[in-house]
């Protein structure tokens, strides 16, 4: 076979190319021909097709994601915004924190262990590429029904993969989510979040500048992993009947990644790089074109210098390979030797594969012949943009009209008791310890709060006790009922969770998991969720710093619930002031903050008791959320509250169960006069939390709430070894614990 060089392409304009098989649309191919003024070479086609895929180009989502920038609240904390590998926020004392959540959904369905493992690996490299030391990970997960046989295949593999990779990297797992719902049966969601810390001056960006600077590829050798994975996997619905579309799976090597992290941090410490980029989806195509596109000059790459694991790879395959654990750095010539020395110290293979040129083209050579000659911006940053049609689905009205108020409710104390136990033992509300005990939460020695807590909280400075807290949340049921409100509820919950630990919420990352953008209904859900999130972030003053979109989460015509997963990062000046969820001191008073309305649409109770989804989700009041957060933060800082737990799915009763079990202390609860016991216990009104207040602080605390106008209702006291609701029921903690802790082990073995 003759090599398809640029010259050859010029001479053979009529050679048919497999652009359609590579996922390009006719007009997209036309545009490539127009940009180049000739037909692309095979290698160029490979690059464009993979970089213009939905996954890399965000072509369907871009027009909506723009709002995150346009409506961004004024924030002094934002150091690097959307568009880089990850956003960076200032947390004070010269420290900057970067964090981002990403999806690895489809690969984790095909091969749960490796799919999830490489998902962790990928997000960690993103954080590393910003110049930061990765310090913690989180894993928001969604699976099909807990008792479905395929869940038993997918879940243990995913969990083992996340643990196997993250544990081996030495990154504490400080939280996440586990949600079961049959809508995720064929499309589990595996999202992974990483947090990194650096000093302001260490921030690095992905750009290649300085003519003559060397381009160094370092890390693992390049093999045939996931060739075409990005374009095929992420832009087409996975379909079992067409096994040819199954991509080669990527296999992770966490040990190699650990070396890559330490090696890269040492390189940063010695200030040896001008620009740096991790290799993730689209591999070298992405790294070289993005580096060149963001920089000032062009780039020339000798592709045959790339160290290979499989000598038979073609140049196109090398460009598209998604082999893991690789990074690409731009280094001034005088620093190359030292760079190589550090790589050698860490047993990391490093190779100069090219250099920055003074032109404005990305040129790639293979055995001396030119196979790529493109303007890099057209590959990396000026891909197609679609204004996809969207429309409110016609079933939306009927769904919202199907009010949960009509469902039959527990009335007697005995029925309430049974409902509590049913809720506590349901897979979504039960303890996730079977999963989280497979994750190292102690490594690095800075974990102050980890699961089960409202947010993960880590110390970032041992002297000053400065720390950060991160929580992720997302409720697909709420979003299905109303995607605008659902996205805001996800944001509000994560925000509230961070505040409940005593940290001040600062910034947002999000992973938007949706169905096909080519389906106007799914696209409407997406548009609404983006609008809701952008409006919500503006109202709360927490900018979106970065995130990820995962489309095509659907099987046939049936999409998953729209699932915006929102991560909120907060800062706490003194981690010793943090507030845990545990009820630890008998005699302390339990206060319910916020207002409870009858809001059962999309609730955990409606799912567990009636398998029902309908009506409207809880209302959102972001001003109230801000006020609640202020109270929680002040209460923690001034020592007025010893425990706090936000209220979300499962409502008040679920929060009580968790705080009691965590602290090993019971509670005596009195339903406020005139209130309905069932609604008080099971409603999911937003903007609420419970707190434990030492008696000596009661007056000070209620004065503060009163002065600021936050409803605070004393609902009980920490006492005994049962959860007792006066006049209704009493459940010994042992019985609750058995139900709470026994559920997942009995389902998963």
């Amino acid at each position: 076979m003759t090599l398809d060089t640029v010259k050859h392409a010029e001479q053979t304009p009529d050679t048919p190319l497999p652009w359609a098989e590579l996922g390009l649309k006719p007009d997209e191919y036309e545009r490539i021909v127009e940009i180049l003024g000739r037909r692309p070479t095979g290698a160029e086609l490979a690059m464009y097709s993979v970089m213009w895929s939905e996954h890399c180009s965000y072509k369907s989502s871009k027009v909506h994601l723009r709002q995150f920038g346009e409506k961004a609240p004024q924030s002094d904390a934002m150091l690097v915004g959307i568009g880089e590998n990850a956003g960076v926020v200032d947390v004070g004392q010269g420290y900057a924190v970067t964090f981002k959540v990403e999806s690895h959904n489809h690969p984790s369905y095909v091969e749960p262990y490796q799919g999830a493992a490489t998902g962790v690996g990928g997000i960690v490299r993103d954080i590393l590429a910003m110049g930061a030391r990765p310090v913690a990970v989180m894993d928001p997960l969604r699976f099909g029904a807990a008792d479905h046989p395929d869940t038993k295949r997918v879940l243990p593999g995913v969990v083992a993969g996340i643990g196997g990779y993250g544990n081996c990297l030495g990154l504490p797992n400080i939280g996440g989510e586990v949600v079961f719902d049959s809508c995720y049966q064929g499309n589990p969601l595996v999202n992974a979040l990483c947090v990194g810390v650096m000093k302001h001056e260490d921030i690095h960006l992905a750009k290649a500048s300085g003519t003559g600077n060397k381009v160094i590829l370092y890390g693992a050798r390049t093999g045939g992993d996931g060739i075409g994975g990005v374009s095929v996997l992420a832009s087409e619905t996975f379909d079992d009947s067409k096994p040819t579309k199954r991509p080669a799976v990527q296999v992770g090597d966490p040990f190699q990644e650990k070396l890559l992290i330490e090696c890269t941090l040492e390189i940063f410490r010695e200030k040896l790089v001008v620009g740096i980029q991790d290799l993730g989806g689209a591999g070298l195509s992405c790294a070289t074109s993005e580096l060149a596109s963001a920089g000032s000059g062009g780039m020339r790459v000798e592709l045959d210098t790339v160290p290979l694991r499989d000598a038979t790879l073609s140049p196109e395959e090398i460009l598209m390979s998604e082999s893991q654990e690789r990074m690409c750095a731009v280094v001034e010539p005088q620093h190359v030797d030292r760079f190589m020395e550090i790589c050698e110290k860490w047993d990391v293979i490093a190779t100069v594969i090219g250099e920055v040129t003074d032109g404005n083209r990305l040129e790639i050579f293979w055995h001396g012949e030119q196979i790529v000659d493109v303007p890099p911006r057209t590959v990396a940053h000026e891909g197609p943009v679609y204004q996809r049609p969207y429309a409110r689905p016609e079933w939306q009205d009927a769904l919202q009209a199907d009010d949960a108020a009509k469902l039959s409710r527990p009335a007697s104390g005995d029925e309430l008791r049974a409902a509590v136990l049913q809720l506590t033992g349901s897979p979504n509300q039960a303890s996730k310890a079977w999963i989280t005990d497979q994750y190292d939460r102690f490594v690095l020695g800075n974990t102050v709060l980890s699961q089960p807590e409202d947010a993960g909280l880590i110390r970032i400075d041992e002297e000053s006790n400065l720390g950060v807290a991160v929580a992720t949340d997302g409720n697909g049921r709420y979003a299905k009922l109303d995607p605008y409100t659902g996205a805001q509820l996800a944001l509000a919950e994560a925000y509230r969770n961070v505040a409940a630990t005593g940290a001040r919420p600062l910034a947002v990352t999000d992973c938007l998991n949706f169905g096909s953008p080519e389906d106007p209904s799914a696209m409407w859900q997406f548009a609404e969720a983006c609008r809701g999130l952008a409006d919500g972030c503006l109202a709360l003053g927490t900018p979106v710093t970065g995130g990820n979109v995962s489309f095509y989460n659907q099987t046939g015509d049936v999409a998953i619930h729209p699932t915006p997963v929102v991560g909120v990062l907060g800062v706490i000046d003194d981690v010793t002031r943090r507030t845990p969820i545990a009820f630890a001191e008998e005699g302390q008073l339990i206060y319910l903050l916020g207002e409870t309305r009858e809001e059962l649409g999309g609730s955990a109770w409606s799912q567990v008791a009636h398998d029902h989804l309908g009506g409207l989700p809880p209302q959102v009041d972001l001003e109230r959320e801000k006020l609640l957060a202020e109270i929680l933060i002040s209460g923690s800082r001034d020592g007025m509250i010893d425990a706090a737990h936000d209220l979300s799915d499962g409502g008040l009763v679920q929060a009580l169960v968790e705080s009691c079990l965590k602290g090993g202390k019971g509670a005596r609860i009195v339903i406020p006069d005139g209130d309905d016991a069932f609604v008080t216990l099971f409603s999911e009104s937003a903007g609420r939390a419970i707190v434990a207040v030492p008696r000596s602080e009661e007056l000070r605390f209620t004065d503060m709430c009163g002065a600021r106008g936050l409803p605070a209702t004393r609902i009980g006291v920490i006492d005994g070894d049962a959860l007792a609701v006066q006049g209704q029921f009493e459940i010994p903690l042992d019985e609750l614990r058995e139900v709470y802790e026994g559920a997942l082990p009995s389902l998963l073995g």
Partner: protein, 81 residues
Amino acid sequence: MARVVVDVMLKPEILDPQGQAVQRALPRLGFNGISDVRQGKRFELEVEGPVDEAALARIHTMAETFLANTVIEDFFVKVES
């Protein structure tokens, strides 16, 4: 009672970090002349009754659906003499 062995190896195109780690360590330990190492799994099955074609076919299915993950692994069934 007969023994059937199922060897499960990563497909050649799939990265084998374990084998690589072994191979990289060998020269340091003074063992040279090994150009590649792949690490896989070996299952020894004690089979009740005769290992006839039907039994082997069943074991083949078992290897394909359970012992090996054919997305990334190849497997080989053999009867131990």
